[in-house]
Subunit: 156 residues, 2 copies
């Protein structure tokens, strides 16, 4: 028997993270939030699929504390729902950026990256990386900017 | 219209990464590989679900280059399949470690982390973090060790 089975690993942090965000759509919604979407209708437009399904997914993200829901109304329109990433939600974004960097490393876009991550203060490129350097000052999402890169093809 | 819709973002690296690894089970299989599993029967035991489903999922991971399949046979037994992470697969592990660190940050385990990530050369704790420091030497998976932490409860 492999020694892994000597331990109860069901509540390991990786597993708990997967239970919250490893479902195949939380990170897709998060990606749209990184690109700036907040409105239910915009998420629906970007992600496709049924509105009821999306509504349930956003509700789950509110319940796990990744999103906060607020109402807004444009003049003369009925109230609609907006979803904003919470601090906990923003803090998950580096996971998605790490996934993007992995993808760009192993299957680079022919036209260059669609999104660029840079340090706000200096404009230097940001990487997500493992470090054991105690003096390393990790950047927070507030310190970085995600902008469109050369691979973002304009269609509109 | 939100400016996000002026661009074709379907081939952004985050999206392409999600297409490969954001399905809800690739990272679960990866987690078991980090804990040392290689044999089909062990993955089946750890992950539950049908063997046909698991077989298809491992096959997909071989096709996307995350896993390599090899045969092994114990004396007197028929040949069975073993799955080993490739370099590309190992390089995805920091994404999972980042997810685990996020989870531990926002919902810490009462008994301490189940898994610890340390630098092989120094034993120092490893974090996955964003950095814009050009001199930062990112660690590779070969440089780090994942071991069980105080929260790993022995059951066997």
């Amino acid at each position: 028997m492999h020694p892994r089975f000597l331990y109860d690993l069901d509540s390991c942090a990786m597993r708990r993270g997967l239970d919250v965000a490893g479902d195949g759509w939380t990170l897709r919604i998060l990606r749209e939030a990184v690109y700036g979407l907040t409105r239910f209708d915009d998420f629906a437009n970007a992600l496709g699929g049924g509105r009821g399904v999306l509504s349930g997914r956003l509700k789950a993200m509110v319940e796990t504390g990744l999103m906060a829901r607020q109402a807004y109304a444009e003049p003369g329109q009925r109230r609609r729902a907006e979803y904003h990433l919470t601090d906990k939600g923003w803090d998950l974004v580096p996971v998605l950026l790490a996934l993007g960097q992995w993808s760009e490393r192993w299957t680079p876009s022919p036209d260059g990256p669609t999104a660029k991550v840079t340090e706000r203060a200096t404009g230097r490129p940001v990487v997500v990386a493992m470090t054991a350097e105690p003096k390393a000052r990790p950047l927070a999402m507030d310190d970085v900017r995600v902008t469109l890169g050369p691979g973002a093809r304009r269609i509109g």
